[in-house]
């Protein structure tokens, strides 16, 4: 009786725990606020003068049995992230929890038993295998190091592994140079799987391989996941590969995760502008789509240096939607839709997070000229329409942004027939002329000169662009910190401001260039 009661209470005690626990228990690896800075030292004393902020505060978790893909341009810190979560490099800050255990500060010795559970597949199949060791000794190394004696002996187990990854067991005594790239990558995979790990971090596992071989390795990893119940973190720059293998995908930019979502949401309705730009840049093996080039967003320039990343949102220097707030306030990674976390003030395919902020930054203006995107424009309109009821208080700024996008769309549809070469040169000319005009305005104080050179050069979009240009100097004046004021007051604001600019163009633009 007492015993049953005891078990009852135990069960009772256990129930609530379990109810809340499953999610927690599903999580295999949890990363909170992870940072990795590489110090830059100078001088005789080797004083630290700065740091390469390779990974700068990222949070995510990996659930059991899933594949998390990590994408981003080179230099965005994805490989460093992979090395830090496997503790091949020590994190500067943050917390890594593996199966509920904090492994952030474990020593090498303490980490060793865990190496069984966390394995890594490296990018370069040529550099990651010791050329002086036979395949047998390479693949059996994990057993030796961990002191594991598999059933039936090490050699038999290694040969089984070689077969598992599609190699012949006779390869046991061969050396790495006798194998092709794809075969070597298989050897690397066999080694990583030797101890039946729970988590495999694969850093660009297929990027060094030919397409046909790439498909073999992708399929192999897929099969092994199903057979052995593996959890993968796959780091890659190839978006089509990542899409193929991943359940959820994290998009990184300059050491931060900008978007984290399940595969379908991310590829069908990307929210972060950077994700959208990345997607649109992927070449598609379909000649029919060639006519639809215009939907491509061309990012200008390169990723900024991680030594001194841009303030606020790190993407604002290349973003065509960037406004003042992007420069000053860093957007947090928040869950906007179930399962889709985004760090952006003005996400795509969703309500604007900072609708009161309509002043485009100069980078955005330049970029918007380079986005010859009729489809995008209409999508924008759709999203604006969708937003309208949500943000009813502030319809005016919406309109402004809408209006300023339209000319871009119009402009894009017009020269569609014309060659893209012309379009680009046109945009470049415009940019060049603007720059020249800005310089001129900076040197001379004559206000008339600026308007005459600056405005007509932009041609058609000039009317649309007048609004944001006008608003730029107007905004700081009317307290950017108090968006509530926007509710009714700015009804005529943009238009009035536009007219105002026309009158006081000289002084206004003077301010903007000074800024």
């Amino acid at each position: 009786m007492s015993e049953t009661k005891k078990t009852d209470t135990v069960a009772e005690a256990a129930v609530p725990k379990q109810a809340s626990a499953p999610e927690e228990r599903d999580v295999l690896l949890k990363v909170e606020g992870l940072t990795k800075h590489f110090p830059i030292k100078k001088g005789i004393l080797q004083r630290q003068v700065g740091a390469v902020k390779a990974v700068d505060g990222i949070d995510f978790e990996v659930r059991k049995g899933e594949t998390l893909g990590v994408v981003g341009e080179s230099g965005c810190g994805k490989s460093t992230m992979g090395r830090v979560i496997t503790r091949l490099q020590d994190p500067t800050g943050g917390r890594i929890t593996f199966e509920g255990r904090d492994i952030t500060r474990l020593s090498t010795g303490q980490m060793r038993p865990l190496r069984r559970d966390i394995q890594m597949i490296f990018q370069d199949p040529y550099g990651s295998l010791n050329p002086r060791h036979t395949i047998g000794s390479i693949v059996s190394a994990p057993f030796r190091l961990q002191g594991v004696e598999p059933e039936g002996g090490v050699k038999k187990e290694v040969q089984r592994l070689l077969e598992l990854v599609g190699l012949s067991p006779e390869h046991y005594n061969r050396y790495p140079h006798e194998f092709s790239g794809g075969q070597r990558q298989r050897i690397g995979i066999a080694r990583a799987l030797a101890l039946k790990p729970k988590l495999v971090v694969a850093d660009e596992p297929v990027s060094a391989l030919d397409v046909s071989i790439q498909a073999q390795v992708v399929n192999l990893m897929d099969d092994l996941q199903q057979e052995l119940g593996l959890t993968y973190v796959i780091i890659a720059h190839d978006l089509s590969v990542v899409r193929h293998v991943s359940d959820r995908i994290a998009v990184m930019y300059l050491g931060k995760i900008v978007e984290l979502a399940d595969r379908t949401s991310l590829y069908e309705s990307p929210m972060h502008p950077y994700t959208k730009a990345l997607m649109s840049a992927v070449p598609v093996p379909d000649t029919k789509r060639r006519g639809q080039k215009n939907e491509r967003i061309l990012l200008r320039g390169d990723v900024p240096s991680p030594i001194a990343p841009p303030s606020g949102c790190r993407f604002h220097t290349r973003c065509w939607k960037a406004t003042q707030i992007c420069k000053t306030t860093e957007p947090q990674l928040v869950e906007l839709k179930p399962g889709q976390r985004v760090a952006c003030h003005h996400p795509e395919n969703f309500a604007d997070q900072a609708p009161q902020d309509t002043v485009l930054l100069s980078a955005a203006k330049k970029a918007s000229e380079l986005v010859p995107d009729a489809a995008d424009g209409s999508a924008e309109e759709a999203s604006v329409a969708e937003k309208a009821p949500v943000t009813e208080k502030k319809p005016e700024p919406e309109k402004a942004s809408d209006a300023e996008k339209k000319p871009v769309a119009e402009k894009a549809s017009e020269p569609e027939k014309a060659s893209e070469a012309e379009e680009v040169t046109l945009a470049e000319e415009v940019a060049a002329e603007e720059a020249a005009a800005a310089e001129e305005a900076g040197e001379k104080t004559g206000p008339g000169a600026k308007t005459s050179t600056g405005k007509p050069s932009t041609g058609k979009p000039s009317t649309g662009k007048a609004a944001p240009e006008a608003a730029e100097p107007a905004e700081p004046a009317e307290e950017p910190a108090a968006p509530a004021a926007e509710a009714d007051a700015p009804a005529e604001e943009p238009e009035a401001a536009a007219e105002e600019t026309d009158r006081q163009a000289g002084t206004d633009s003077q301010e903007s260039t000074d800024k």
Partner: protein, 364 residues
């Protein structure tokens, strides 16, 4: 020039005989063999194609299929210095009415850089790390033009500006290591185009770059081609890039052409099982995620012991479809499938049609 490009018959079967062809670039039965201690490496073994000005030909294939060797043969790079002793070349390469295989090294040197130029895969190793980027462009210009350094420098700045490098007047004095990957590739394109060459060979120009930068570079190449009306040979293994930029496609396998035709034909009605394999093994961003990719089994063949018969037969899932042992004994020749579309395969037209429509196309 424009008339030629309008005809668009860039991939006709080359005419035989040692006379200057009408096409701007014509390669006839090109063979490039390298004798080594282990045997003769037949990198290119009987390749023919032609190309008109204003058109883009993409050469596709796995590593070791002879793509790069072909381009280097056209540029005459195999015959430089001591390397010339270790290569056996035969066949004909006609560039604008001039034969290059039999031409003297001096003649080829006059053409190299001026008539034909090349963009390499890795701009960091293709540029000299000790010299300023501008000086390297100036050198390329002054080799072919008798102009002062000042004029050449102005030209270098103009070219850097044209390829979209910001502040070209400042960057002209920069060293290659001061440029980012995309910038370096732009600088190399500027260097290649400084003499307005009529043939531009781009050997995997975007493989080392991120997708965003790749898009920029492809756009740039396309724009410049329109501007200068040059013929472009794009060597790549990325079918996405091919679909984006190419007019014509040539698929290479084991040193030979296995399929060639217009980009539309090759992507919509591919004829060779190897092309099917390439298309099937590519994960695509535009389609539903199918459960699995369809890889080509096995690995690329050794170029020393190219498999007998059809070089692709050990990897071909349909090698046993044609009757007898023909795929293992007889090397298939290029046959015209439709106008301008050629394929080298023993499968009968009906079999190909059936396999493509029933087995391959639905899975892509």
């Amino acid at each position: 020039m424009t008339e030629l490009s309008k005809t668009g018959a860039a991939v006709g079967e080359p005419t035989s005989g040692r006379q200057a062809p009408e096409a701007f670039l014509e390669v006839r039965d090109l063979k490039v063999h390298f004798p080594t201690d282990d045997g003769v490496v037949k990198s290119v073994d009987g390749l023919s194609f032609s190309l008109e000005k204003g058109r883009t030909l993409a050469i596709v294939g796995e590593s070791g299929s002879g793509k790069s060797v072909t381009s280097q043969a056209i540029m005459g790079l195999h015959r430089l210095g001591t390397r010339g002793k270790n290569v056996r070349m035969s066949g004909e390469i006609w560039l604008d009415g001039q034969e290059l295989v039999s031409a003297s090294p001096d003649e080829v040197r006059k053409l190299r850089g001026r008539e034909m130029a090349m963009i390499f895969q890795d701009p960091l190793s293709a540029m000299h790390p000790y010299y300023k980027v501008g000086d390297q462009i100036v050198e390329a210009y002054r080799v072919h033009h008798k102009v002062s350094k000042k004029v050449a420098r102005a030209r270098a700045i103009e070219m850097l500006d044209r390829v979209g490098i910001p502040e070209p007047a400042k960057r002209v004095d920069g060293y290659p290591h001061e440029f980012s990957g995309g910038m370096r590739q732009r600088a190399m394109i500027a260097m290649a185009l400084v003499n307005n060459p009529e043939l531009l060979i781009a050997d995997e120009p975007t493989t080392a770059l991120d997708v965003t930068v790749q898009a920029q570079i492809l756009d740039l190449i396309r724009d410049l081609q329109k501007e200068f009306g040059s013929a472009v040979i794009m060597i790549t293994h990325d079918l996405g890039v091919v679909a984006e930029i190419a007019d014509d496609v040539l698929v290479m396998y084991g040193g030979r052409c296995v399929e060639r035709g217009s980009a539309g034909e090759v992507f919509e009605q591919p004829q060779h099982p190897y092309t099917w394999g390439l298309l099937g093994s590519m994960p695509r961003i535009d389609r539903e995620t199918s459960e699995r990719l369809i890889p080509v089994k096995g690995s690329p063949p050794s170029l020393i012991n190219v498999p007998s018969g059809c070089a692709f037969h050990p990897r071909c899932p349909y090698a046993d479809v044609p009757k007898g042992n023909v795929t293992r004994t007889v090397r298939p020749e290029l046959e015209q499938v439709s106008t301008g579309h050629w394929s080298a395969c023993h499968l009968s037209a009906e079999d190909r049609e059936r396999i493509w429509t029933e087995e391959i196309a639905p899975k892509l």
